[in-house]
């Protein structure tokens, strides 16, 4: 296995509310994250809103900068090479409404200065065909397409410059159920035929299980657990991962009340709790958790599985 992307002790901190006479606060959106994505591997990032998964994805896609640590692609610092592309959640706002779909899809090639206008147009048509859109799609405007079709256009745009890594930020959650599986299958087919690596950001654990090779769980900007898909779903080590899996809705019997083990909500990242930031919601929390932040270390009896918890399983 060759590392394609190496994120090393990366932090993204924002200064909030600072002014001429005010010091302001530091929002630690991503804090000291180390993660590796190998060639042709799908890594899923899961966590609740405010966990930092979108910020992390944007940095990897070159849409944000780090305040500490490094991100390296094939051993070199990130640069605008077209090798990493992004697919966004909302296919309605991700496509320029005044551009023809053919031009939308060819845009990355134009920005990278690749080929002549005519070659780029041909390439865009080829891509639209690969994502199974009708032949005349290139001459139409984004508003003429449904949500699922627009997400296909966004996928075509992401693939046109032959990337090696795709960052997909909740690419299914704005779509209807029957459309989700269509797009999910397309994504898997393309990943296989083009040997792509994928950083897949999602809150939907069932979809993550279907797609991912490895999963990283984020809580308040930090990775609390990272493991192979089966390791994480069968033997979760961190209490937060366990709670997330338990809360994920599954088709089953009507619940009786009080079945949820996780109380409370994710705290504001502007004012994270001291020690382990999960301690106010954690059923296992003791004194040490309120004082010392646990390091991400091997979970006992689980090969290749890391968890950041003083009392990990």
């Amino acid at each position: 296995m060759t590392a394609l992307l190496e994120i090393d002790a990366m932090s993204v901190h924002f200064q909030v509310g600072s002014g001429m006479l005010r010091r302001g606060k530091t929002l630690k959106a991503v804090d000291n994250v180390t993660l590796q994505i190998n060639e042709n591997e799908t890594v899923a990032l899961v966590g609740e809103s405010g966990s930092g998964k979108t910020t992390l994805g944007r940095v990897v896609a070159g849409l944000g900068s780090t305040t500490a640590g490094s991100v390296r692609f094939r051993g070199a610092p990130l640069e605008a090479s077209g090798k990493i592309q992004m697919i966004f959640q909302d296919p309605f706002s991700a496509l320029d409404p005044r551009m023809l779909v053919g031009d939308v899809v060819a845009e990355p090639l134009r920005l990278l200065g690749r080929g002549k206008a005519r070659d780029r147009r041909d390439r865009a048509r080829e891509m639209l065909d690969q994502v199974r859109l009708p032949k005349d799609a290139a001459e139409r405007f984004p508003h003429e397409f449904s949500g699922g079709q627009r997400q296909r256009i966004a996928i075509a745009r992401a693939l046109v410059a032959d990337p090696e890594l795709i960052v997909a930020d909740e690419p299914l959650s704005a779509l209807d159920v029957s459309i989700q599986s269509q797009v999910l299958n397309l994504l898997m087919d393309l990943k296989e035929s083009r040997q792509l690596a994928l950083l897949f950001i999602s809150h939907d654990l069932a979809v993550v299980h279907h797609l991912a090779d490895r999963v990283a769980v984020l809580y308040l900007g930090r990775i609390v657990e990272v493991a192979s898909r089966d390791g994480l779903f069968k033997n979760p080590s961190h209490p937060y991962t366990q709670a997330l899996l338990q809360a994920a809705p599954k088709i089953g019997m009507r619940r009786s009340s009080q079945t949820t083990m996780l109380r409370g909500e994710i705290p504001s990242p502007l004012n994270p709790p001291p020690g382990c930031s999960f301690h106010p919601r954690c059923p296992k929390a003791r004194d040490i958790c309120r004082q010392v932040a646990p390091a991400l270390e091997s979970a006992p009896g689980r090969t290749g599985q890391l968890a950041a918890c003083h009392f990990k399983d």
């Binding site: 609740e48 809103s49 159920v177 299958n185 069932a206 299980h209 279907h210 809705p249 009507r254 009080q258």
Partner: protein, 333 residues
Amino acid sequence: MTEQIELTQPNSSTAKALEVTGLTVIARRDGTTTEIVSDISYAIDRGRTLGVVGESGCGKTVTSLSVMGLLPANLSSAGSIKIAGHEMAGASERTWENTRGNQVAMVFQEPMSALNPVMKIGTQVAEVIVRHRGTSPRIAHKEAIELLAAVGIPSPEVRANDYPHQLSGGMRQRAMIAIALACQPVLLVADEPTTALDVTIQAQILDLMVELQDRTGTAIQFISHNLAVVSQIAHDIMVMYAGRVVEKATAQEMFSAPLHPYTRGLIETLPDPDRPVKRLPVIPGAVQSMAAGAAGCRFAKRCSLADGHCAQVTPALELHGSDHWVACHKVPA
């Protein structure tokens, strides 16, 4: 003669919280008529939850708005809607105003746009109590704080003075539920109430709704595109497709033995960690709107079982088994 009296006489002791019969909703735009909801009938008993399932464009939300008397002016409806035995079809706006918030209340997907942004949360709860029960503002405020506590908002006497933007999404949805339950309605209509929330918060809100229903006996019409979420809360399920009811059964029956190809498709297209597959089955195509009066099964174009008969003749909703209704020519009788 006696029958007619019985039909119009209000009867608050009936077991049915809601009874919808032959509801049809039509939109007229640019000279074309579209049937958004076509001749649907269903009922919800007190203390029961009906899950309404389907994709966007299936008529779920328009059905709820009809039940709330909140249909936009460009839509016209026909059929009967009885709330706790009272006929509401054709009721005046004044009657609806006395019913909404009192007998029937609604929880929306996005609490931020449903709440008044410039009014404190406590005041918004108290307002409903004053409006429908004529309680004095002081007593209503006290009750409002009790309600905020009942829906699990911590330190409610402090939070009552917060404005909606000061609350998290989950807390806002709890406040919405407090407002909806302020007058102990016979029916709560919840339209995608957990869709905008994180999974852990979603689980908490579902727990809360189950707990409150056990305590108050309120009937719930729970609308969601998410089958897994619906299965967690509903006693009965109604699946809608392009404005028609295609299947209706108890939740247990619906998820263990679905009969309609659309329902089966919806269940099969969901990835399930307990039953991993290499490739997900798909329902090809997308929901399309229907011209009024068009015959044939509306799912026919996307259905792998469909033949010429399906495209021409509308299947009736028929009984299969004890309480399992299906509208499909291909389901053996």
